[in-house]
Symmetry: C2
Subunit: 191 residues, 2 copies
DNA sequence: CGAGCAAAGCTACTGCCATTAGCTTTAAAG
DNA sequence: CTTTAAAGCTAATGGCAGTAGCTTTGCTCG
């Protein structure tokens, strides 16, 4: 292996993700990561190019985890049930990790092949689930954007405490899912 | 008035908002604001309590502007047309000011009466537009959340470049609005 | 007109953080 | 047992937020 073998890039990202989950994205500093790793701050540069690079690695991890979660949710389901399961999985992930919302909102930089691939993987799951609706390609793109906007919008707002009122948020999400499924069905019938 | 009378809190927020619009929320520093104001950085504390306070003032401004924009869009319209106009206005505002998305996503702090009132004002517009649908109070809350989630989600993703594909984004938004209006109509008929 | 007072600004300083440069240690490989 | 490259360290720089305390200025009121 390597000398001291205490840290790896993976481990640094783990620690950083823990800080993000416990406080917030903005609260992430290399100084805090170094403290938790039991290491001097400059030592982190052996595993990570910069704070910006660490943030990118976090985004990558989050997008990959989301793709996995959605794939798992979709397997063995079809049509309306699959859409609903996808939505639930997305919401559950963001409720478990509220501070990860922004990682799923930012555009993947063109030049970043790895992150682009991960983002693409998420879209692929939605595309697959949409297949039985019989959309052509352009329609499928529109439909995917609608699903993503509605579900990400809802989960993101909920995760950041955006819904102040006491009425049951889960109920609201059920309403949203119903609208979505009906809307997709309608759109498939008369575009 | 006051000595030198060069700056006011308003003017500081104006300059700060310009910086946010030109670069990003994270790029906002008191140092940059001071430079643009032609003033030493510590002088800003005569007009603003802290960077966090300045950020709050920005959020407040944005939410108030959005409430105005939505009110304007809704006046003279009703039902489906009003919903559509609201959605268009929300999207247009965020397209004009992409870096202001987060100001509309964060929860208003309970203890912050002014910001809470502004947020409430936005919700009130949606509530008003929903009246002809004949929802009871709980249904109206669910419906408002769905509208906000879908529209904010879409506009926020679009504003941050989240839609990479070349297909017409405006077309996608039309699909979303159609789903929304149909969904609300359905929900009003059979909850 | 001439104090005087409070607001607005300034300089000097502290502390935190990212990042760079260059040195030291250590574990693995021969 | 020696070599070597990775991993870590200390020292230093520069940017920024925030605080303390001084100075200026313009309005207000005798």
């Amino acid at each position: 292996m390597s000398p001291r073998a205490g840290l790896t890039t993976e481990a640094v990202v783990d620690l950083a993700l823990k800080i993000v989950d416990e406080s917030s994205t903005e609260a992430l500093t290399l100084a805090k990561v170094a403290e938790r790793a039991g290491v001097a701050a400059p030592s982190l540069y052996k595993h990570v190019k910069s704070l910006a690079d660490l943030r990118r690695l976090i985004d990558l991890r989050v997008v990959q985890e989301m793709a996995d979660a959605l794939r798992t949710a979709a397997t063995g389901r079809e049509g309306a049930a699959a859409i609903s399961a996808l939505a639930d999985a997305y919401r559950a992930y963001l409720l478990r990790h509220p501070h990860r919302t922004n990682a799923l909102a930012t555009a993947p930089d063109e030049s970043d092949a790895e992150l682009s691939r991960a983002t693409h993987a998420v879209a692929e799951v939605v595309f697959a689930v949409l297949r039985p609706f019989g959309f052509d390609h352009v329609q499928a793109v529109h439909a995917t954007r609608c699903i993503r906007a509605a579900v990400h919008g809802f989960a993101g707002l909920e995760a950041s405490g955006g819904f102040g009122r006491p009425e049951d948020v889960g109920q609201s999400f059920e309403v949203l899912k119903t609208m979505l499924v009906q809307g997709l069905t309608n759109y498939a019938e008369k575009p």
